[in-house]
Subunit: 354 residues, 2 copies
């Protein structure tokens, strides 16, 4: 493969964000040269500090600059000093929406050696891929308030679901399911109550599914699915779902797969004209920020999803393998390592892999 | 206490509904006379069979008759032969909405001897009361479809939240929290994304909370709450939440507390002019219907919630104690019992309690 330079925008963000991003970059630096890949990283200071200083969450000019990159690597945004939602909507969701990250890809995989809160789950029981819609649903931000502050107050919140938006993510999910050994796709929704949106999702899954006769299709209400995540995780291979249901079940997925410290994600627009964005599922964890206590593994695994997306599948597998080895080593040696030590160890494994 | 006759409407419903309701009534018959309570039960045939025969889910005249009762005891509705949502919305949700069951009360309690999928949870770790709003939110049924069947199709689904509706359920939840030893209330929402509804819920909790200085208040996003149900169930005492979030987290609660076979609920309107409705959280389970395999315990525990609601707290505690004893006996003797045998055993325990 010819050497290639990828322009990477890095948004360390708030709390533990900068600490874990540093380790993600460390591991990327270890693996990239082995695949003739060079990363040209530019850091953007966005998040609580900037908001306090300037009132900006994401200036248009910065959004423009971000669009000039091939990928975005993000730590975490959010701080208790900023009103709830300001950074989430002004920065994170704005990027997901404006860059049309319609696939929010969240693998839920229990690595050998990792302890799970479930008594009976083994690694082979927990290996799914949640394809969460990322650009519509209740996240559209639509709705409003009438008669605020009076006894007659009404607040609405509208979920928006388009054929266009549902079809593109369902199509992506079928593609993923067809490429996995079990070839199973589960739609998670609540079509017995959310009848308008549910019927659209069901119909699109049926129609697109007709093109994938080798993929078996299942449907579960979100309440039942949540239960089965805990009682029968084995039921799930690829899961496709709405933005909000996906938010909930992927945190649940993180819980059963060893915790939020390991859960990776990609906000993906499969068309190359927009940069996709890769971030750990966890938040900024202000309570442990600056103490070198954060586990950078979720960020490192998000870097692996990024490598996959950029076309470096072998590099992605190497990073995942190094993480897997690190997690097994951890199971045998309970010595507490700092954020940087974990990054060093994974990077060293990557650098020396056969 | 003077003898009193309570007019009870019974809706056995579909699938395992009739089987479990029979056992609930059996246990009620065993406990009621000990408290000078007589139950005058009238059965209503509603559900899949009626819908197939007549196209009716809940005729107005039947709804009128139901209003003439003090309580409704329901098994389960729903059958694969009926399109998803028809019975749920036409019967179950219609009753919850028209009878203003604004409190959907769902205890999540791990009884000693019951096995949980969580590796490290003991009974004292899982003892919460979820107060789910029952008459608004995304369950309002509002929304619609535009350009159906075309590439430009849009389906919306609107969550409706009123000051009136949120305040009454939040007030109820604070009352419950104040009466429990831990006196803790957790609001579960997603206010960083569902900003209009979330801000209303937060504000109401703050305002009502000012009247309950002895109750400590916590807030969690629904994704984090779902994770903590699995990793730290101990965090929760009373939980108050929106209709849809409540649907999801109470199935999750059922999962961690030993399964859907044990999860009870009350659809409550605290004002006496409307009958409240008591039902197990599980559905009609058509796969095991008619086989005497269903566990009637959730229905029996729902009967206990009903007794509490009707003012027979001592009777409710007796039923719960009998269930507790039955569950502990089960842990020691794995003999599989039929639905009726479990009902017999619990009824016998109730009848002989000191
Ligand atoms: C921070 C928040 C807006 C975000 C979401 O709800 O999508 C987070 O929970 C996630 O899952 O990435
Ligand atoms: C059957 C369905 C409409 C119902 C709900 O969503 O409320 C059920 O899941 C429940 O939790 O009682």
């Amino acid at each position: 493969m010819a050497a290639r330079t990828v322009k990477l925008a890095v948004i360390p963000g708030d709390g533990i964000g900068p600490e874990v991003v540093a380790e993600g970059l460390k591991v990327l630096s270890a693996v990239a040269p082995r695949h003739d890949l060079a990363l040209d990283a530019t850091e953007y200071e966005l998040g609580a500090k900037r908001w306090h200083a300037t009132g900006e969450t994401l200036p248009d000019s910065v959004e423009e600059e971000l669009r000039g990159h091939e990928a975005i690597f993000l730590g975490a945004v959010g701080d208790p000093s900023v009103p709830s939602g300001v950074l989430e909507r002004g920065l994170l969701l704005r990027l997901r929406f404006n860059l049309s990250h319609y696939v929010n890809l969240r693998p839920v995989r229990l690595y050998p050696g990792v302890s799970t809160p479930l008594a009976d789950a083994a690694p082979e029981d927990v290996d799914m891929l949640v394809v969460r819609e990322g650009t519509e649903g209740p996240y559209a931000g639509m709705g409003g308030v009438l008669r605020k502050g009076t006894p007659g107050e009404i607040a609405t919140q509208d979920s928006v679901n388009t054929r266009f938006g549902v079809e593109r993510v369902v199509r992506y999910a079928f593609g993923k399911a067809a490429a996995r050994p079990r070839k199973k796709l589960t739609l998670v929704h609540k079509d017995n109550v959310l009848t308008f949106a549910g019927e659209l999702w069901q119909r699109v899954v049926r129609e697109v599914g007709a093109e994938y006769s080798d993929v078996s299709v299942d449907y579960l209400h979100v309440d039942a699915a949540s239960m089965f995540f805990v009682t029968q995780p084995r039921r799930f291979d690829v899961v496709v779902t709405d933005n909000l249901f996906g938010d909930i079940i992927t945190d649940l997925g993180a819980a059963i797969a060893g915790g939020i410290g390991l859960a990776a994600s990609g906000n993906i627009n499969p068309e190359p004209e927009f940069p996709s964005m890769f971030e750990p599922v966890h938040g900024s964890a202000p309570d442990i920020a600056g103490q070198s206590k954060a586990d950078p593994t979720a960020t490192v695994l998000s870097a692996a999803i990024m490598l996959d997306h950029l076309g470096y599948a072998d590099a992605a597998r190497q990073v995942e393998q190094a993480v897997g080895e690190d997690l097994q080593a951890r199971a045998k040696d309970a010595t507490v390592r700092s954020t940087a030590q974990i990054g060093d160890d994974i990077a060293a494994r990557v650098a020396t892999q056969g």
